[in-house]
Subunit: 350 residues, 4 copies
Amino acid sequence: MIKAGIIGATGYAGGELVRILLGHKDVEIKWYGSRSYIDKKYADVYRNMFTLVEDVCLDDNIEKLAKEVDVIFTATPQGFLAGVLTEEILKQCKVIDLSADYRIKDVHIYEQWYGIEHKSPQFIEEAVYGLCEINREKTKGKRLVANPGCYTTCSILTAYPLVKEGLIDTTTLIVDAKSGTSGAGRGAKVQNLYCEVNENIKAYGVASHRHTPEIEEQLGYAAGKEIQINFTPHLVPMNRGILVTEYATLNKKDGKLPTYEEIKAVYDKYYGKEKFVRVLDKGVCPETKWVEGSNYVDVNFVIDERTGRIIMMGALDNIVKGAAGQAVQNMNILFGLPEETGLELVPMFP
Amino acid sequence: MIKAGIIGATGYAGGELVRILLGHKDVEIKWYGSRSYIDKKYADVYRNMFTLVEDVCLDDNIEKLAKEVDVIFTATPQGFLAGVLTEEILKQCKVIDLSADYRIKDVHIYEQWYGIEHKSPQFIEEAVYGLCEINREKTKGKRLVANPGCYTTCSILTAYPLVKEGLIDTTTLIVDAKSGTSGAGRGAKVQNLYCEVNENIKAYGVASHRHTPEIEEQLGYAAGKEIQINFTPHLVPMNRGILVTEYATLNKKDGKLPTYEEIKAVYDKYYGKEKFVRVLDKGVCPETKWVEGSNYVDVNFVIDERTGRIIMMGALDNIVKGAAGQAVQNMNILFGLPEETGLELVPMFP
Amino acid sequence: MIKAGIIGATGYAGGELVRILLGHKDVEIKWYGSRSYIDKKYADVYRNMFTLVEDVCLDDNIEKLAKEVDVIFTATPQGFLAGVLTEEILKQCKVIDLSADYRIKDVHIYEQWYGIEHKSPQFIEEAVYGLCEINREKTKGKRLVANPGCYTTCSILTAYPLVKEGLIDTTTLIVDAKSGTSGAGRGAKVQNLYCEVNENIKAYGVASHRHTPEIEEQLGYAAGKEIQINFTPHLVPMNRGILVTEYATLNKKDGKLPTYEEIKAVYDKYYGKEKFVRVLDKGVCPETKWVEGSNYVDVNFVIDERTGRIIMMGALDNIVKGAAGQAVQNMNILFGLPEETGLELVPMFP
Amino acid sequence: MIKAGIIGATGYAGGELVRILLGHKDVEIKWYGSRSYIDKKYADVYRNMFTLVEDVCLDDNIEKLAKEVDVIFTATPQGFLAGVLTEEILKQCKVIDLSADYRIKDVHIYEQWYGIEHKSPQFIEEAVYGLCEINREKTKGKRLVANPGCYTTCSILTAYPLVKEGLIDTTTLIVDAKSGTSGAGRGAKVQNLYCEVNENIKAYGVASHRHTPEIEEQLGYAAGKEIQINFTPHLVPMNRGILVTEYATLNKKDGKLPTYEEIKAVYDKYYGKEKFVRVLDKGVCPETKWVEGSNYVDVNFVIDERTGRIIMMGALDNIVKGAAGQAVQNMNILFGLPEETGLELVPMFP
């Protein structure tokens, strides 16, 4: 039985970790950390857990926690983990960080986009970027996993095979992303009130969203060169789900665009054996509802012969595959369990 | 391994049966019946099932189906099962009916409220009303289960302990119910279009909804006498969930109203050991979100000293405990499995 | 041209006052009061007003304001107006208060339900309860209007004719109310975040909501005796709208229930000439969407012969007829304008 | 008083025409045409109109109608008007067509994208493309107006100034559009049911949506050359509103990108005096909620120095400025009324 502790257990990603881990046969949650609700019963914060969780929320004491568990999940604001992580902790247990603290290898880029000083850059190098379908081999044996962002996971997986195989002109890549509101977190802000979000859609963070450099770095590795993209997130009136629509000019071969079949074969090459990435049938566009509550990413594409572009689409549940689900997937990899353990969640419809 | 067949697999309740049974370790679905989608891949109708279900939809041939499976679930319109059920079928397999065909013992009341002739009244008597928390003992060994309606399950369980113990004046009982839109089914009707339901709430079927006699019959058994109530359903802009708010005048004892503690003790007496009925803490009102995707019913109450009434509240997911979940719970009872098998679904929030 | 000032212009009711007054040909808004946004452009708080309102938000200085305008609307928290109102102010201009400060004649009941001391009880007597369809004659010539609550307006108007005519047993009256989320205000609270409200319905303030005594007092006047009711509000995932479903036992005459036609005639007697109260056709249930954005109240009823009860239903837009619209209607009465001036807003559908 | 007739009065655009024209002081609606609801009271189809409209729905007899009115609005399916329009009709009254029949000058492109034969191509040339802010001068004196599509209006107005001034590389233009569900019409289809749309977002019509050639044609006129773009619409769970996010590479001048101020000046040049196009303040992204129920289009842009692209954004209400509102604006132009008559609708928030 793996003993797990969660720091930031009362945010939406933390709550989803609890939901998933309660159904994971090899895990026992030993610590529900929540600075905001110390000593309050966890099930009084998330009443869906009534009768399922009897524990009270504990302080975010990661040093103490490290002595009691095998793995720590940190679902905390940017900068928290970087401020408290020590070699001592990493010697005692695995750490899976759902924040951005160790996702970006170049600390200057991190500090520039996040606007905060990185307090423990010495761990950046050893941290593995936990996008399981791409980095699972590198993840095995690691102590520290930087769990990818929600937009990032969706954006990268949707374009990855084509970038990796050099089929698109990466200078033309544009990612138009749409997210449900749980991605904005559980903080009490006017802009996230029901009446402000409902019956409304808007872009935000245009040309400045923090997931941009994360996408660029990872797709850059795939391309073997630096990439700069446009990434535009939008807030959609729904609880869960991210949809990305990506545009890029296809590279021609002998003056001809690749065919549907050729592109499909490339997607299948990378994802044909992946349980959690589903390449949809021809003509079917991904919808967030079809992956809700599950760890799936649905992807597909359309070639536009007129403009020579490919439109790639991807959908996932932002707090499952985009956060807690992928974190558990990473835990499974770290502990040598079958990757889908506890993650065989059937999407809920409607 | 229990072999199961579903007739009406492409309605919302049918789809939910598939979702739940896919996670049930002792069941294998052998037949996805859907008159509307014969020969179409099931996962093309419900794309959340892509890669999870490879089968195509089959005709609603219940006689053929009965030979191949151990249990048949019928998630079909009123009158369908009554029109095709035979002794032959019941000799071959268990039948769990999610429609209303065998719920009401008095066939005249059925015919009056549903406006159709009952084609096989000879099976009404043997059918058990499958409200598990109340009738589980009677269900064991049965061949035919009349799975309760969604409003009904919620309405009955919320008031049952007080009715059974004679604590309320049943002539004053009023049930004001609110339901998500999946309860209206997947038929293409203007009134259920997104734009008609969204940003809107209305009552419907006032003083004439078909779940009324079902509630009256079952609560009448509990009271030991005939009961007539007012039941008013409302359509709420959300996918899932039923909330009932019930009003009744408390019977006084020696001129005094019962106390909170006395009423709480009665609820605990009936539900203290029930896994799927959660009596909430004092002052906490049930919310549909806390049970979404799960088989739970959350109940609670408030005593109004001023008016002498008790306000009882109950919440469930209309297509889980209100349909498919309870059907699986009944299946577990019929086949001698632990009642919660395959139903340990943690509610999803948000 | 009537010069108007608004205190609390940046709450939802305040914003709606601005929307309505901008379309009122006889009114000019001179003061956008908002303690939270002093010196900020109003159109930066409500960007729908961009290019329409150039003013900046001013402090809540009611004494200064009284010198500059003909009418002051206070859309402020309970207790604010009671704390600052003076005879001096009332001598200078009309005051229409959207808070509860002067709605309840018995100051002890106010203090008990609101839990605050009333700072200027000397004005309670002169304040008129501004439910226009009932009190318009009393309103003419007044200086101070207590604009009714949203739930209250809907609850009272729906039952008023039957209470007034003694057709129902008022001891049996139960009001089950459902409200959109704008009724909860624009304060940043976790419970009102999109993800907490969306896909959810719950009761709140059960047997303790502050609109209860207001309904009881006004219906008591109509009945000519004290009334105690059960009032249960519910939070519905939509922006605007209140629906009430009211239950009462009909008084029999010579052992017989009144007929549909008799009840209809009573509703028509009271509302037949009212522009803003629409008694719907037989069998049609009110829906909040049909009154959205308008000053209408739609009402109707169903008689249940089985139980001897009548189910009355009413729907309005909580921030129009339930707040800002009725406030403007009261202003029109105070200033001798046709009552519908500026209020001929056609409901928006969908 | 202008006498108006509406054909297709019971679709969402038709209903909105009624809402707007009821508030237009110079118009009287004489004919509510609706093939689906002949002889039914209009207010029984749209109950928001109860007491406001007493008429019954009439047949779609455009020849008869033309004799009785000054202007006909056709809010009908593609091909309807083309099938019935005659010179006779155009001699008798103005026709404003909300369908696509006369929007595209090249009949072959129309027939190719719409998949139907055009029955009256002889009127295409004389029809004016009624995008008021661009073509108002050409509209004056015309008999037939092709009222632009909802996506089209938003897409064109958002990019028009930059295309017209040659500031962007039009070969790089990509339009990612998001629409509320009223754009899908009021037809009873499973895909538009509440439960299918709610909590979901998807792209559709990828590289094949019919508004593509319309955008290309009009922007092509502005550019003075043929343009091919990618246009991707998405379905968003809300009733009203379209948001477009457009991407294009900025043309450099002397190796330098234009500045914010330069681009802003161009937008102001075209829209500074336009009542219904609002260029927002720097850094403010358009939101559909801020224009809901109104005839406004809100636009803004962000320059991304890193990629050399500009991200342009636009928002409107798809059934006001995207359909009925613009149709009335065109009517005002045709009849020499001030363009904003009847259209001074303040956006509704929340």
